[in-house]
């Protein structure tokens, strides 16, 4: 609770808000086709209910990989009907050019500097892909536990130190934003259990 923790680059940081869109969950089937389940879910750290997503109607099959977007695809980002969890009323929509905020993080360093990321813009969309140890959909519901590790957004593939990188990203064209995009896509999300 309200604790500081040390990032892999030795920045000490505490988080006050963390929200992101988790959308377009897709599974790779035996024919090498991606089956997109077409979900749009908003995950908010302060909202326990938001952390369980139910995706009905997964086609029968044998799947070897899962892919998802942390954010919103370019079509929904520009022409979205803004219903349900995509409603701008959730506060995750910029009225100007870039559309949705894909990923929001707010926190403070132990030196009391504000850190505030609102990542958006189609070119900055993190897409994560995680191989599965053959997921057989045999007629029972599958529960997948997914962990998001905040520490990972500061490393791999790019080192992101709060001393030398932007600590306040609120434009889609910030020079450092691609680093966060890549770091979120790679390794920040892991599948801990599949039942």
């Amino acid at each position: 609770m309200n604790k500081y923790y040390i990032t892999p680059l030795n920045d000490s940081i505490k988080c006050s808000e963390l929200s992101y869109y988790f959308t377009n969950v897709s599974l790779l089937n035996a024919n090498n086709e991606w089956i997109n389940l077409g979900n749009y879910d908003l995950i908010e750290n302060n909202n326990p209910e938001s952390k369980t997503i139910v995706l009905p109607n997964v086609p029968a099959g044998d799947y070897s990989s899962i892919r998802f977007m942390i954010g919103v695809d370019s079509i929904a980002n520009s022409t979205g009907s803004h219903e349900g969890e995509l409603s701008p009323a959730y506060g995750m929509y910029w009225s100007w050019a870039t559309g949705y905020v894909f990923f929001r993080f707010k926190g403070r360093t132990s030196g009391n500097r504000s850190v505030s990321f609102d990542i958006g813009g189609n070119q900055n969309l993190p897409i994560a892909e995680i191989p599965l140890n053959s997921l057989k959909n045999s007629g029972k519901s599958i529960t997948m536990n997914i962990a998001f590790n905040l520490a990972e957004i500061f490393v791999n593939p790019h080192n992101y130190s709060l001393d030398s990188n932007s600590i306040d990203i609120h434009t889609a064209i910030d020079p450092d934003v691609y680093k966060l995009r890549d770091n979120i896509a790679k390794g920040a999300f892991t599948i801990t259990t599949v039942q």
């Binding site: 988080c15 302060n46 995706l55 009907s81 504000s114 536990n145």
Partner: protein, 367 residues
């Protein structure tokens, strides 16, 4: 492709961040027997190319014409207070967008409360947008509109009405049992049904006919100053949109609990009073910016009496504190927002377009 109706359940855990709070159980409410009522047709407001979110109406308290009419009658009835001197409307008056014009409202015997009365419009959307049990009041201490009704009734500084006595009192007023019978199928009045009826009335208090709404429906134009105010509002310049929505969010708030920098050490702990967590100290429900011309003074303690004061506060007087929002803090290195006199005026002119004169004079909402 064959669909087996299989569920993929994704459960998330977030490492290294604030832990989620524990959930308190919500009091279960048993449904009433079925009988004949007239369903109320809730008409959702329209904006071009923006959809107003659908409301979550509790399955056991659907909106009915009879229930809403009864709720309105109760809302305006002074007999709901301990000494029959004030009603809900004493502090939530229609001409003030269902708030009042005092910093602290006076309850029965003139006792002063310690918070500014909140306007009542579009409040049911807080139910949709806020998670968990913190949805109503400045400090989020109530979880539902139904439950909220008990707050002012029992509060010694507000209506100071013993609830058991209220039930006896209403049962003894000849006009009430038949109205409860029509609305809920039972002429035995219970506290639960009083809560249900008032909640129904509150859900119908929708404000959606301001000049800005008409602009978003293509019916009127905004002038250059108002448009510039909108631009300032919804960009990093004045930076209001991070908390108070934007031209795609008709509610002009996301309702979330935030510290907008009023005090470096909050006098009133807000949400923190209720959760006891230091990270919640000084967090208050973000109010809608509709109808500001009718709801002065402003903030949870009514400390500002004009919009000019509010804008100057955001421009140059926000304070740093342990929970001050990062969106406020990010302007400190530049000495605040640095708005010019014209920009401040444009911002106010834009805010005035959110005043809904049809809402405050709507006869359907009056006794």
């Amino acid at each position: 492709m064959r669909f087996w109706g299989i569920l993929l359940l994704l459960v998330f855990s977030i490492l290294s961040c604030r832990e989620p709070e524990e959930e308190n159980p919500i009091i279960p409410i048993t449904p009433v027997d079925s009988f004949k009522v007239t369903p109320y047709n809730l008409v959702y407001p329209k904006w071009n190319s923006v959809i107003w979110l659908r409301l979550k109406i509790p399955a056991d308290n659907p909106l009915t014409v009879e229930g809403i009419a009864l709720g309105k009658k109760l809302f305006y009835d002074k007999r709901l207070s301990g000494n029959n001197s004030i009603s809900c409307a004493s502090c939530h008056a229609p001409e003030h967008a269902f708030a009042d014009n005092k910093a602290f409202s006076s309850g029965i015997n003139g006792a002063l409360g310690d918070r500014n009365s909140m306007p009542l419009f579009n409040i049911a959307w807080a139910d949709v947008l806020l998670p968990g049990n913190h949805k109503f009041f400045w400090d989020g201490r109530k979880a539902s509109i139904e439950d909220q009704v008990l707050g002012p009734l029992g509060d010694p500084k507000e209506m100071d009405q013993n609830l058991a006595e209220l039930v006896l009192k209403l049962n003894a007023i000849p006009e009430y049992p038949p109205l409860f019978k029509k609305a809920f199928g039972s002429d035995s009045i219970t506290m639960r049904l009083v809560m249900f009826a008032i909640a129904q009335f509150e859900r119908t208090l929708i404000s959606s006919n301001s000049k800005f709404d008409k602009f978003k429906r293509g019916e009127v134009e905004l002038n250059a100053s108002e448009l510039n105010g909108l631009e300032l509002f919804s960009t990093e310049k004045a930076d209001c949109f991070h908390c108070h929505g934007n031209e795609f969010n008709p509610l002009f708030t996301d309702f979330k609990y935030k510290n907008n920098g009023l005090d470096s050490i909050p006098i009133d702990k807000g949400l923190g009073n209720f959760t006891g967590k230091p990270e919640d100290f000084g967090l208050f429900k973000t109010p809608s910016l509709r109808n500001l011309s009718f709801t002065a003074p402003y903030m949870h303690d009514g400390r500002f009496s004009t919009l000019e004061e509010v804008i100057e506060f955001y421009n140059s007087q926000t304070k740093d504190g342990a929970t001050t929002d990062e969106v406020i803090r990010k302007h400190f290195p530049h000495g605040g927002l640095n708005l010019t006199a014209t920009e401040k005026q444009d911002l106010i002119n834009f805010l005035r377009t959110l005043d809904d004169y049809e809402f405050v004079s709507n006869p359907n909402f009056r006794p």
